[in-house]
């Protein structure tokens, strides 16, 4: 298991990141490091700047100040697709799946495998199903590639969304509230999926309101408040009580 900070090279490094929308200061002076195989919990109340930070890293808009370094090199994203191209994937809260398509089709959406048949490029259903099955196996999720997503449980949907990030060999996966609005049993499955990513050396940023999940799966927790980073601690050195008081502002910083 890779321990944070001694792993040397960070996958993602933010230095003095700030973002203003007109007169509104959404982020101010945020420094952040995420190492390969590290699971980082990003917590904070609504409006604390979590989503802005995630969107910024995902390339939705550029920072007003500061520098983003990925794999040691400074990067600038014009569009989300640029971020995806270098290995940053986001699993969205609503999962961004097409319900009317199969699990395999969703995993390969926009990146379909094709085989040539004379002048035509036809979908290679077999290869896609086989690869999807492999990915679900890696994630130890019992999801059948040919099942329609609309027939699936919340946990299986998460597996499909996460398998999509594995397909591109993402180095950093950001998950936005993956355990909101699913059953207890499915939460277990999703946390299991996060462990699978970690085992494969993927850095994971988990954005969550659920304290038990963060403490179950994360190596480190970062607390945001009013657009600033108020705490950045190893899970072992903190407690749910401390994190709660940091989120609410009862404790200013740690």
């Amino acid at each position: 298991m890779v321990t944070p900070h001694d792993a040397g090279l960070a996958v993602l490094e933010l230095k003095g990141i700030g973002k203003e929308f007109g007169a509104i200061r959404a982020l101010h002076g945020v420094d952040l490091r995420v190492s390969p195989g590290e699971v980082l919990g990003l917590m904070g109340d609504n409006g604390a700047g979590k989503s802005t930070l995630v969107k910024l890293i995902a390339g939705n808009f550029p920072p007003s100040h500061g520098e983003i370094r990925f794999d040691g090199k400074p990067v600038h994203f014009a569009r989300p697709i640029d971020a995806r191209a270098i290995g940053i994937e986001v699993v969205y809260q609503d999962l961004a799946l097409a319900d009317n398509l199969t699990a395999a089709a969703n995993v390969f959406l926009g990146r379909e495998l094709k085989r040539r048949l004379g002048p035509f490029a036809l979908l290679d259903h077999k290869a896609m199903a086989a690869r999807a099955l492999e990915l679900f196996g890696e994630l130890r999720s019992e999801t059948r590639p040919h099942d329609l997503v609309k027939q699936m449980s919340g946990g299986q949907r998460q597996a499909v969304a996460i398998a999509r990030t594995r397909l591109s060999n993402a180095k950093l996966v950001m998950m936005d509230e993956p355990t909101a609005a699913i059953s207890v049993r499915q939460v277990e499955q999703v946390l299991g999926l996060i462990h699978r990513l970690k085992e494969q050396g993927v850095a994971v940023m988990l954005i969550s309101h659920r304290m038990p999940d963060v403490f179950a799966v994360c190596d480190r927790v970062v607390v945001m408040r009013r657009g600033e980073k108020r705490a950045d601690k190893a899970i072992a050195d903190t407690s749910p009580e401390e994190v709660t008081s940091l989120i609410t502002g009862a404790k200013e910083a740690a």
Binding site: L123, R140, V217
Partner: protein, 360 residues
Amino acid sequence: MATPLESPITFTNVGKAKWWQSGLFASQTGYVLLALVALFVVMNFASPYFLTEGNIQNVAKNFSFIAIATLGVTFVIITGGIDLSVGSVMCFSAMITSMVMTQISTPGMAGADWFVHLAGDGKTVIANVPGLILLVSILAGLGVALIVGLVNGFCIAVLGLSPFVTTLGMLSIVRGLGYVVSNGRGSFPSGPDAGYFYTLTSGVAFGMPAPFIYLVILAVAMAVVLHHTGFGRHVFAVGGNEKAAALTGIPVVRVKIEIYVICALAAGLQGIIICGWLGSAPANMATSYELNVIAAAVIGGANLAGGAGGPLGAIVGCVLLEVIRNGLVLAQVNSYWQQTLVGVIIIAAVLVDRLRSRMA
């Protein structure tokens, strides 16, 4: 590390779907097809004329007259859009094809010198290259359909206008243009290539009406495109979850423009074929056909909310409409009942689908 990792996760509550709960059998297309088969059986007992070769040919020809346009509209409906301009485009394409053919086949008219010359007797018009006039006039008809499709697609995908409003406007615009260019008069395909034109549009080959053959070819092509190409996959994805499609990098704008172009081209081709059957392109041709076409698609299982539909459903819907019309005629029921019945069937088909998905 609270989660146990060793044991593989199992879903004991999720079984494999039964064969009758998946694929065609679980779809609206499937049971509308079943209803159609039942209707064939009933009609066979009700009327001795129904299953005669002549009548079946008649049915095949008649439903082919809206089915090609229905294939096109089905593409649009799968993405969650709608195209109300198909009836007007049918008329306009037919009219342009017919007018261009007449124009370039008449010596003395602008441009006609390239295509025809007068024979020695000073009266007979002879084509310079046989078939060229036909090709040019059909391309002209399809060309205007292409433009209409591009404008529809641009307004909807790029400007973000609602498909309903855009194509409702286009319905009126294109119908109006049809009246403008023809001055309200019909036009007749004529000239040395008119014979080819009628053969291609209303002839019979291998015992089947020509439009039916085109329909089968186009339907097979559509099935392959929808289920075995990246484009088809993207069409379904846009209809299933447009936001997800955009997030995964699918060129949503391009896909949308392409399907409106396909739809308009299908309508244009359909109009040209109808023109051959009628022998003319009257300015009021195919008025309100868009409603029949959309009805057929919806009866066959295309979901107006997007994400579902296919060529088989489109054809089944068209056949059902035609068999009912034909059946009412054979049963000597007042044919005005047809419209009422069609409405009932649209609602019934959608209702059955709703009940079924509620039970599942």
